[in-house]
Symmetry: C2
Subunit: 95 residues, 2 copies
């Protein structure tokens, strides 16, 4: 599906909050969910993907992982580089 509705942004909440968000999107009919995170939240994004796959939705797999660098404008005009990650999770084909 187009649009950004199937993107879950990882912040400072618990891993289970984001697991629930991802599972809900799949249950709402999305075939793909993208988990995005920056900086220290990257570890939590990986935790989220692993818990969804291993504990809740064995029919979902990690299809692609991209890493990158984003510039954040900090205080004043400072620009800070921060690493980012995108984890693409997809529902496997129903055979």
């Amino acid at each position: 599906m187009p649009g950004e509705d199937n993107v879950i942004y990882i912040g400072n909440k618990s891993v289970m909050s984001y697991v629930l968000a991802v599972v809900t999107q799949f249950n709402n009919g999305f075939d793909e969910v993208v988990i995005k995170a920056r900086g220290r939240a990257i570890s939590r994004a990986v935790d989220t993907a692993e818990v969804v796959k291993n504990k809740f939705m064995p029919g979902v797999e990690v299809k692609d992982i991209k890493i990158g660098t984003e510039q954040i404008v900090g205080e004043g005009t400072d620009k800070v580089n921060v690493s980012s990650v995108e984890i693409l999770m997809v529902a496997k084909e129903k055979a």
Copy 2:
């Protein structure tokens, strides 16, 4: 090359320590270097890969990223699940 010599394990040191380690392995003649991390060090692994690629070695690219879950035996007989990441960096073909 076979063996584990081209694996860099990310711990609690600074990102630049690991960047230097990766760059050194490429300069030592490895065509591939694998960056491995678990838990909170995962963000640092991504930082390391991004800094190597963007600041030091434009001829190196991220070829594959795998995530997984490992069991760590904690105190007593407790087992704790921890997320892990492996980032495969390769020297691009010299055209």
